[in-house]
């Protein structure tokens, strides 16, 4: 079982490379059970959207 510390890193790396299948599954499983990491993932997703929309409309 991966820790939040490991998972937050993989969530970020998942934005920059394709994670190996087993890691992707481990992250998914962790996220299912961990609200804190789900929030972190949402923050990362938000940042990506925000940067792609810069400088706004």
């Amino acid at each position: 079982m991966k820790t939040c510390k490991e998972v937050h890193r993989l969530v970020i790396e998942g934005q920059d490379r394709t994670l190996p299948f087993t890691e992707r599954i481990a992250v998914r499983v962790h996220l299912m059970m961990c609200g804190a990491c789900r929030r972190f993932e949402a923050q990362m997703e938000f940042m990506r959207q925000a940067l792609r929309r810069f400088p706004g409309d």
């Binding site: 937050h8 490379r17 792609r52």
Partner: protein, 190 residues
């Protein structure tokens, strides 16, 4: 579109393009040059603009190429120093010894509502400008120019694993800054 109307429409985009270019090139003069080249290329290529895409989208895509050209040139002239895993900021402090969060990440609310606010982009711009140059260059190539990680590492002649470290740091710093400058201020919930 008549030529003079097209010209006016292009000129109207200049401030937006400048903001975009300055953020990535971090230098007023080379941003101005890139924008100038872009507007000229757009004007000369007017017949290629069929009106299918939005004018702004089309011009921004030209600008992105001009920016990448400049970054390429700059990277050849002044390579980035390697960022080592142990450098300065210590994100380990966000976690307890057993790997749990010290503090649960906060909810950033409704993303769409935040992205509608122009003041949010001002704060984000400020946070991006606060990133050290060696992180910012890689990060903007990845997120604003939307290049693939392998492509960036190759352009900048840095190792792939170093690229990941840099991108990790940049994201963690931006997150920290947005939390502090925007979400803690409660401006997002007005």
């Amino acid at each position: 579109m008549a030529e003079n109307v097209f010209y006016d429409e292009l000129e109207k985009l200049r401030p937006t393009l400048m903001r975009f270019a300055v953020l990535q090139l971090r230098d007023e003069q080379s941003a101005e040059d890139a924008v100038q080249d872009t507007l000229l290329a757009a004007f000369e290529g007017a017949e290629q603009f069929s009106g299918r895409a939005q004018l702004r989208t089309w011009v921004v895509s030209i600008l992105k190429n001009k920016i990448v050209d400049r970054i390429r040139k700059r990277s050849r002239e002044a390579p980035l120093p390697e960022v080592s895993e142990s450098d300065d900021d210590d994100f380990d402090a966000l976690f307890q010894a057993d790997g749990h969060w010290q503090e649960k990440p906060s909810s950033w609310g409704n993303p769409e509502a935040t992205l509608q606010q122009s003041r949010f982009y001002d704060v984000m711009e400020l946070c991006m400008k606060a990133l050290p140059e060696n992180l910012a260059r890689v990060f903007t190539m990845r997120e604003i120019l939307e290049m693939e990680t392998e492509e960036i590492c190759k352009e900048l002649a840095i190792s792939t694993s170093n690229c990941w470290v840099v991108l990790y740091r940049a994201r963690m710093r931006l997150r920290e800054c947005l939390q502090l400058r925007w979400f803690n201020e409660g401006v997002g919930t007005e």
